[in-house]
Subunit: 317 residues, 2 copies
Amino acid sequence: MAHHFPNGADVLVSECGPRDGLQILSETMATHHKLRWIDALYDAGLREIEVCSFVPARLMPQMADAVEVVAHARTLPGLTVLALVPNLRGARAAFEAGADKITIPVSGSMAHSMANVRKTPDEQVAEVARIVELRNELAPRVPIEANISVAFGCTMEGRVSEDEVIRLAVALVAAGVDDSGLSDTTGYANPAQTKRLFTRLIGEIGDKVGGAHMHNNRGLALANCLAAYEAGVRIFDSSACGLGGCPHAPGAAGNAVTEDLVFMFESMGISTGIDLAKLLAAREHIVTGLPDVPLYGMTWDSGLPKGFVAAKEARHV
Amino acid sequence: MAHHFPNGADVLVSECGPRDGLQILSETMATHHKLRWIDALYDAGLREIEVCSFVPARLMPQMADAVEVVAHARTLPGLTVLALVPNLRGARAAFEAGADKITIPVSGSMAHSMANVRKTPDEQVAEVARIVELRNELAPRVPIEANISVAFGCTMEGRVSEDEVIRLAVALVAAGVDDSGLSDTTGYANPAQTKRLFTRLIGEIGDKVGGAHMHNNRGLALANCLAAYEAGVRIFDSSACGLGGCPHAPGAAGNAVTEDLVFMFESMGISTGIDLAKLLAAREHIVTGLPDVPLYGMTWDSGLPKGFVAAKEARHV
């Protein structure tokens, strides 16, 4: 897994706030606020941002401006503009809009799969194969990521079979996706399970392993990211100020908090390419754009430690 | 480090809420609430509780009932009643009150040491030696723990020398303490540093290594506890509902949240001897006793996962 990340970073922190963070809210962030927020995240050094999902606007009004958001994000040099698509129709829209990369959710449990995409997991794998064909035709340079949702447990079914999660990821790679990662959609994961499942996944699909997408429902998101890192994962989804959740995973809290995740890696000497002070300052765009949404983030509350040195500077000391 | 923990637990979760959790609050929990809360924590399976500190009541009115609290806690069979003492005078009071174990803070930085105990670190080590002598005379069966405060960084001095932290712990063991652990009083620690420093400490003092006391200022308390566990630490301080802080470490957030820490270990198959449902229910005593204090804890907010199995039951599946 020889990754070459922008800014010479050791890990890629993939910001999913503008998609995962906004989709569950009853409030909708106005487009002009969203664009300024994305600009600020980019200015802080984020080089992959999941800016939207291509879903019917009547189902998810927060994402109604997807085409405009992608068009703007494409103007930021070196940014990978990532869009979530649940199906072939969404994928076509994303390719036409000019997304740089797409991500497709495939559930590890039947119940979550039916609730989220109205298909069985295997039907969704078949849909992914059709998306790969469309990509080869319309947008051959656009990588496709397909992550396994509820990979660590499901609010409807409880335990999710690890064999099934691995089988689906292997099937997705066979279907032609560029990488497949694991999502703890429900915040059920623990570090031992995270390390075990990612180690097994890497054993099966090697450098096709994608990211760790860990929610923070029980406070373990960072511990689980650490465990995934120890297993060899180098791509981490997170959400600014911990925004987020899943409409079909009741009680799902936000994703790993981007600021806290970046603090963890940087303080460990693992470079993210991100300027923490600028990242913390980007919060103001969420406060302005979503004045009634409660935010969190411990690094924001406490500030950076006295004498804090980021990973890159630490190497020159 | 062959520990024998109560209830056949693999790790000892040492609850410090009634001391560390309450000491920084402007509100004072009434004694009768405190006793019911300690009872509930005990009923949940906690077998070491830091119930108070022996300090002048004019400095810390929250701890004015220390003698009464120890007397009550001593009636709970099998509970290690732990009390913090900053100096010889406090130690004498704790021995006279009948504490089962005492803990003494020794700062890793000069500035924190002067603010916290008005002594240099070396003067505090000398005070600990006097406390060991008094213990040998008055209460020979009472173990003494001395943890290094601000071991991972200081809000006044910034970086703290790892050599100095290790030197102090070694000096404390030479002075006769039973164990010495490390406290991230300020929430500055990261997992790499935590693993490195505890590994080095264990290399120096072996089975005299004490606990990991990790604050959550930047959201890393659980990741740091995981790193300490991987280094070989088996004793973890935490605070119910994340209560806590240090009056001389400005901006210090609460300790690792007991509920989330227990969830992490239990879901990893590491037994704590604690009943999570009862532990979560014990929260009501804080809500009743401190109606105006904001609490937190992600496991409380989200509840236990569907199909959750505690470590001990998992072994029988």
